[in-house]
Symmetry: C2
Subunit: 404 residues, 2 copies
C-alpha cells in the first residue's frame, strides 16, 4: 500500500478546515503483561503488548457508534488529522475520515490502531524484548492476522466497545475486517473490506517472498539483528519498489510515466536513473526506508501470506457460517494484486451463508491503491452503508438483519 | 525468459533421436578489430567483437534457406541439440528446431548467435577489454537492440547469407526480428516475432529497473568490477526471481503452486522457504546465477528498455514503411508482460504499410514463457508460414508478395 500518494484535496481537509479532525494525539494501550501474555497462533506467548492507536469523534453514551479502521502493510494508527499544525500531510485515510466525510466523525467514534508486529508504536520486532533488554529482531514470534485481531479485541474491551458498528480497511486491512467478522461475530455489526481477498494466490506470495529475499540478502540485515546499526535500507527499498509496481495498474503507470525520461529526450547510455518511472520507484523506495522497519516488513508480509480463511475453516462458506455482520465488499476494477474475482469469491460465500452483502466494484484506473485516492463513489457508498447500518442497529436489528 | 523449464518431450528430441540435430558445436566469429571497430548507437566504438554462434542444417547452394533464431534475455547461441552426449538438456529451443520440427533442419539452415553484450561467448561486459587487459565491467558501452542486429549482420555476411529466408525469436528475440526487418529490409524475406512488442511500457521498465537496482545494491557488485571475486549473486538472484514472476501467468502460477507448502501442511512460523512457489523462485534464482553474468543482465535489460521503434522513427507506421518481409506476429493469450494488444499494435502498423502480415494469438495459460513450451499450434503455424515463404521466394516473389 502506498500512503505517500494519499494527498487530500479540497479546503476542508486542511488543518483547521471544517472537514478535518484537526490536531490528534497518538495513544497507547498496554496489556498482556507477564504472566498473562497474549497466546499466539504459533503456540508462543507475547507480553507485554502495546498497541498504538488514535480516535476521532466521540463514543456515544450507548457505545454503539464505534468504527474500527484497519490499516494495510505500510500504514499506522495515524489515519486522520494532524499531529502538529505544521505537518506536511494528514493521516493516511484523511480523505475519508472527518466531519461530513465518509467516516463522519460527527456521527461515529472512529478508532485506528497500529497492528501487532508493526513499527509505529505497537509491539513488533523492533520493540525491546523484556527477556533480554534488547530489540526482539527475529526472536519476535511470527504473528498472524488472527493474532492482530485478538490484540485489537483487547483494545476494544479497553475502549468500552462491546460491538463495532462497523470496521473497514483496504488490502491487509480487509483481511483484518474479514477475520474480525469470522472470529468475533457478536462484536461486529458490519464490515467494509476493500481491495482484498480471503487469501493470497501464488503470485502475490511470490512478490512478497522476493521482497523478503531482498531484505534478507542485504548484508546489513545481519539475521535481523541490525538495531543500533545501519539498517538493511537497500534491501527494504527493493522490496518497496516491487510492492509499488503491484499497487499501480499497468495502464495507470503508463499514463503517469510512459517512457518519458528524467532529462529531456536524450538517452544517457549509462545505468543511472533515467526513465521517470525509475525515478518514481527509487523515490518511493528511499522515502519508505526512512519510516519503516525492515523486520516489520518481513513479519507483516508473512502474516499476509499465512492468511487463508478457507484453509483455516475447511472452506470459505464454513468460515463465514457464523458471521453476523452486514457486509459491503468493495473491489477496484484495475486492481491486479487483489482482482475483482477474489472479491466476488468472498461475496458468493457470504451470500451462501445468508449474510446480507452488498458488492461494489469501484471503476478506477488507478489499481490497488485507488482506495487511498479521492473517490466520490467510494465515499458515498461507505457513507450510505454506514447510515443504513446505524439506523438498523438503533432500530434493534442486532444481527444486521441476517436471515437465519 | 526462462529456459530452465524448456524440457523437450518425445523420443525424437533425445540425443541421437530422429528429430534431434544431435551433437552440435559452438563456433565464434570475430570482426571489427581496431582500427575498424563497430560503431555503436551511443557514439562509441567497440572492437574486436566476437559473436558465438551455432548452425543446424545446411545452407542451400543458392543460399536461400537460412533462418536466424534470436534469443531472449537469458538465452544463448545453443538453441538446439547437445554439446555432449551426456548433456542433461538440449538447446533452449530444441522443441522447435530439428529434422521435421517447426524450424525443419532438413529444409532450413538455422543459425543462432549469442547477442552482443551477452555472456555466452559473445563480447560483453565480462569480456577482456583489449585496452586494459581486464574485463570491461561498466567500461563496456551500453549497447542497443540495433547494435546487436548490426553485429548479427556482420555474421550474416560471414556466413554468406545475403538474405534471411526468415528469422524468429520470443520476447527480446522479437525485438531483434523487428529491428532486422526495419533496418535491413533487403535482407529479410520474412520474420516471426513472438510474445513481443515494439517497445516496453512503464511497468515492464519498472520491473527491469528493480532487478538492476537489486544487482547494483549488492555490495559484491562493486560498481561492476567483481570479476575474479565473489559476484553479486544475491542481487542477480533477486532480479531473476522478479523476472520469473512476470514470465508466468497468475493463473498458471496458481495452478502450479497454489498455496501449497514445501513440507506437509503445517506452517513453520519462521522465515525459511515455506510455500512451494517460494522454493521454485529460489531455485530459479540460484540456478541462474551459476550460468549468467550480472553485468550482462544490466546491459541486456537496458537494451530492452531503450528499444522503441516508434520513438526512433517518429511512429510505428514510419518505422515499418520500408519493411519488405512477410510477417507472422504471434502473441500469447495469458502473457501479461507482453500482452496481446501490444502485438496488435505492431500488426496494425504493418498492415497500414501494406506489409503482408499474419497474426496469431496463441491460446495458452502459461504466460510469457509459453513460446518455450511444447505447443502443436505454435509449431504448426511456424512450419506452414515458413513453407509458404520458401515457396514464394523460390517462385521469385523477392519482396514476399508485398503490395506496393
Amino acid at each position: 500500500m502506498s500512503i505517500d500518494d494519499a494527498i487530500p484535496i479540497g479546503e476542508g481537509s486542511r488543518f483547521g478546515g471544517p472537514q478535518s479532525v484537526g490536531l490528534v494525539q497518538a495513544r497507547t494501550f498496554t496489556f498482556a503483561a507477564p504472566p498473562d501474555e497474549l497466546p499466539l497462533e504459533c503456540d508462543r506467548r507475547l507480553g507485554p503488548v502495546t498497541l498504538a492507536y488514535e480516535t476521532y469523534g466521540r463514543l456515544s453514551p450507548r457505545c454503539d457508534n464505534a468504527v474500527l479502521i484497519l490499516h494495510a502493510l505500510s500504514g499506522d494508527a495515524h489515519a486522520a488529522g494532524y499531529h502538529a499544525p505544521d505537518d506536511a500531510k494528514p493521516g493516511w485515510w484523511d480523505l475519508f475520515i472527518g466531519p461530513g466525510k465518509a467516516f463522519d466523525t460527527e456521527r461515529y467514534f472512529v478508532v485506528c490502531s497500529n497492528i501487532l508486529g508493526g513499527c509505529k508504536g505497537s509491539t513488533g520486532p523492533s520493540s525491546v524484548n523484556p527477556a533480554t533488554g534488547r530489540p526482539y529482531g527475529l526472536d519476535f514470534p511470527v504473528v498472524t492476522i488472527g493474532d492482530m485481531v485478538r490484540a485489537q479485541r483487547r483494545l476494544a474491551d479497553h475502549l468500552g466497545v462491546e460491538r463495532w458498528l462497523s470496521m473497514s480497511g483496504g488490502s491487509m486491512g480487509g483481511f483484518q475486517a474479514l477475520e474480525w467478522a469470522v472470529r468475533y461475530p457478536d462484536r461486529v455489526a458490519s464490515a467494509i473490506p476493500i481491495a482484498t481477498s480471503a487469501r493470497l494466490g501464488a503470485q502475490a506470495i511470490a512478490f512478497d517472498e522476493v521482497g523478503r529475499q531482498a531484505i534478507m540478502a542485504d548484508p546489513a540485515w545481519r539475521g535481523g539483528d541490525y538495531y543500533g546499526r545501519e539498517a538493511p535500507w537497500a534491501g527494504l527499498a527493493i522490496a518497496r519498489m516491487i510492492g509499488h509496481i503491484t499497487y499501480l495498474s499497468d495502464a495507470r503507470m503508463h499514463a503517469k510515466f510512459g517512457r518519458r525520461l528524467q532529462d529531456g529526450d536524450r538517452l544517457a547510455y549509462d545505468f543511472r536513473t533515467e526513465f521517470q518511472v525509475e525515478s518514481y520507484l527509487k523515490y518511493q523506495g528511499d522515502a519508505f526506508v526512512r519510516r519503516f522497519d525492515a523486520n516489520s516488513y518481513l513479519y507483516i508480509t508473512k502474516a499476509m501470506d499465512y492468511f487463508d480463511l478457507a484453509g483455516a475453516h475447511g472452506s470459505l462458506v464454513a468460515a463465514f457460517e457464523k458471521v453476523r455482520a452486514e457486509m459491503l465488499v468493495i473491489s477496484i476494477s484495475s486492481d491486479w494484486l487483489f482482482p475483482t474475482p477474489q472479491a466476488k469469491e468472498i461475496v458468493r460465500a457470504l451470500k451462501a451463508c445468508g449474510v446480507p452483502t452488498t458488492f461494489l466494484e469501484l471503476d478506477s484506473s488507478h489499481g490497488h491503491d485507488a482506495f487511498l485516492l479521492p473517490s466520490e463513489p467510494l465515499a458515498a457508498a461507505i457513507a450510505a452503508f454506514l447510515e443504513n447500518v446505524q439506523r438498523r442497529v438503533r432500530e434493534g436489528g442486532a444481527d444486521g438483519g441476517r436471515q437465519p
